[in-house]
């Protein structure tokens, strides 16, 4: 089996995990989670140098922050499948006394999480701080952060963009999930953000455009291309165009599944489209 086939197999299982998690508690955010499955799987199973068991300080390993915390299902599934915590614990998503809170948190001590997120617009600043700590520690590893596109409407991001360029934070790879959708509709309808690539460039960032953000092959190519640009005094962003709900036909091409769980019948339909490859939890 080729490397990409292996990652695709993991992706099938991660989609099943996401769907079953949100279905069980009839809440959570499947759309954006499904749109980023290939990215998370590529990052954690192919690209980042990480250590299990988890250490908060993340010294001499690559570290990842999720800024748009509502896509916690994909994060939790990938962390569990990577071995940070038992996959059975996915069963507790959003339940009382769980470490798998609706939005990711360090508060309950879930391995793999380094900061709480959910209130939007804060993750890039935190990632920049962690990147600067790595520099002070002469730690050669990289900091990754994922942001949503709707989230760019939060002003703190633009403070962080200006700062990262001014200070040459070049051990950081940010990725923006451009799925073009937010709760109230398309990002263009809710608050048109103009040319996002031009905005990042104007702020002094190195921009990599990834038109097919659900292609594992192209994600890895973009990440590899980003890696070559590290250490050149400019922060790097991958603008990754994804399809919300990817891998489940009726969840694609709509923002209806941003924060809505499938019913029993819809779950069966969705699972039938995604083979059980690693064993359901």
């Amino acid at each position: 089996m080729s490397n990409i086939e292996t990652l695709e197999n993991i992706s099938f299982q991660v989609r099943r995990d996401i769907l079953r998690m949100v279905h069980k508690v009839n809440s959570g955010h499947p759309g954006g989670s499904l749109g980023c499955v290939e990215f998370f799987v590529s990052l954690y199973f192919n690209f980042m140098e990480t250590r299990v068991p988890f250490e908060m300080n993340g010294k001499n390993e690559d570290i990842f922050f999720l800024s748009n915390g509502h896509i916690s299902p994909v994060f939790y599934s990938v962390l569990a499948r990577k071995g940070y915590f038992p996959v059975e614990e996915l069963n507790t998503f959003r339940l009382i006394d769980s470490r798998l809170q609706g939005h990711p948190t360090t508060h309950e001590g879930l391995p793999g999480i380094r900061v709480a997120s959910g209130s939007l617009g804060q993750g890039l600043s935190v990632a920049i701080g962690a990147a600067q700590a790595k520099k002070l520690n002469n730690d050669p590893n990289t900091v990754f952060v994922l942001l949503g596109d709707g989230e760019l409407q939060e002003g703190q991001n633009w403070e962080a963009l200006m700062y990262a360029a001014a200070k040459g934070v070049d051990n950081l790879i940010a990725t923006v999930d451009l799925n073009g959708k937010q709760i109230d509709g398309t990002t263009d309808d809710v608050l048109h953000m103009g040319d996002i690539a031009q905005k990042f460039k104007a702020f002094g960032w190195e921009v990599i455009s990834l038109k097919e953000g659900n292609s594992i092959k192209l994600i890895i190519e973009s990440l590899s291309s980003a890696k070559l640009k590290l250490g050149k005094h400019k922060p790097i962003v991958i603008l990754m165009e994804t399809e919300m709900g990817n891998g489940v036909d009726f969840m694609m091409h709509t923002h209806a599944w941003h924060g809505k769980a499938p019913n029993d019948e819809q779950l069966q339909n969705a699972l039938a489209q995604n083979e059980e490859t690693l064993g359901d939890y």
């Binding site: 709480a116 600043s125 935190v126 600067q132």
Partner: protein
């Protein structure tokens, strides 16, 4: 016996700056961040000696709080510096999610608190910050009273693990505590022993409380004057032991009575030892331009206000 002597005037923010300079020499994990107020926060010496451990963020306080949270992940101990207003109200959600809820070891160092910021007026004078910060689960809240205490508190918070809100001020005020008194987070300090009334003060009001106690002494009223520098967690024992002796209490702080130290003490007394209490604090109002001394008088935050409240509370015993 009195535990204080006026050693001349200095500003609490210089105590912070000098404490930070000392930390630069003694603790390699300490880093400092500032949002375009280096001079006001007295950070220049630290910066000169540790240029790589200083982060000029620019006028972007939200970003500063996030970066501070991130720096802790590499084992750093970040001290953020800006005015109290921009350290709290402007960035409440960043502190709440990225620092407090995430349990990050960030020290939010906030100068120019209260009306004594002076002429810049109410846009810059925050009187609500203690309330906002003490409401956050896990946040330690400290308000120091003079140069010496602010300097040793700066050293203490760097050794303490967990998020801290550290509040101090702008004007030069009497420097009256001695380093020998020490600084233990969560422990109040009895500065003057008495039997008739308990006066609990924090920040710039501590000196006013001591001055009030001297006047009251001449009037035949002896005051237990307690300095509460750590508003959260509150030193319940020192307060309860004192009121069991005196039977009444006056609190004094440069903050709104809603959400301040007096409110915390009132809650403590109500729950554990009901006792008459009067509060010297601002009365749910914004400040305004003026000199620090004028504003302290106008907003009832001085020696005379404390004396009046002592007379009132003694009648309620």
């Amino acid at each position: 016996m009195k535990q204080y002597t006026n050693q001349g005037s200095n500003d609490t923010r210089s105590g912070f700056g000098d404490g930070l300079t000392e930390l630069g020499k003694t603790n390699p994990n300490v880093v400092a961040l500032c949002a375009d107020l280096i001079g006001s926060l007295k950070m220049q010496d630290f910066i000169n000696e540790n240029p790589k451990r200083f982060f000029q963020i620019g006028i972007a306080e939200a970003n500063m709080m996030g970066i501070a949270a991130g720096l802790t992940i590499g084992g750093k101990i970040p001290l953020t510096g800006t005015f109290a207003n921009f350290s709290t109200g402007r960035v409440y959600d960043q502190i709440r999610q990225s620092i407090a809820y995430s349990g990050k070891n960030v020290k939010i160092c906030a100068s120019h608190a209260g009306v004594t910021l002076g002429e810049d007026g109410a846009t810059h004078q925050i009187l609500e910050d203690i309330g906002m910060m003490k409401m956050l689960p896990g946040m330690t809240v400290i308000n120091t009273c003079d140069y010496n205490q602010t300097k040793i508190a700066t050293l203490a918070i760097a050794d303490f693990k967990g998020p801290v809100y550290f509040r101090f001020g702008r004007p030069k005020v009497p420097n009256f505590t001695t380093p020998e008194l020490g600084f233990e987070i969560g422990k109040g300090i009895l500065l003057n022993p008495g039997a008739d009334v308990t006066i609990v003060a924090t920040g710039h009001l501590v000196w006013e409380a001591l001055q009030a106690a001297e006047v009251l002494e001449e009037q035949g009223i002896s005051s237990d004057v307690i300095n509460i520098h750590t508003i959260k967690p509150l030193d319940e024992d020192i307060i309860l032991n004192s009121v069991k002796k005196t039977g009444c209490l006056v609190s004094a702080e440069e903050h709104n009575y809603l959400g301040g130290m007096g409110e915390s003490i009132s809650g403590l007394l109500g729950l554990k030892h009901p006792t008459p209490i009067e509060m010297v604090a601002t009365q749910d109002t914004f400040g305004e331009s003026g000199t620090p001394a004028q504003l302290m008088t106008k907003y009832g935050l001085d020696k005379n206000a404390i004396i009046n409240k002592v007379h009132q509370v003694i009648k309620r015993k």
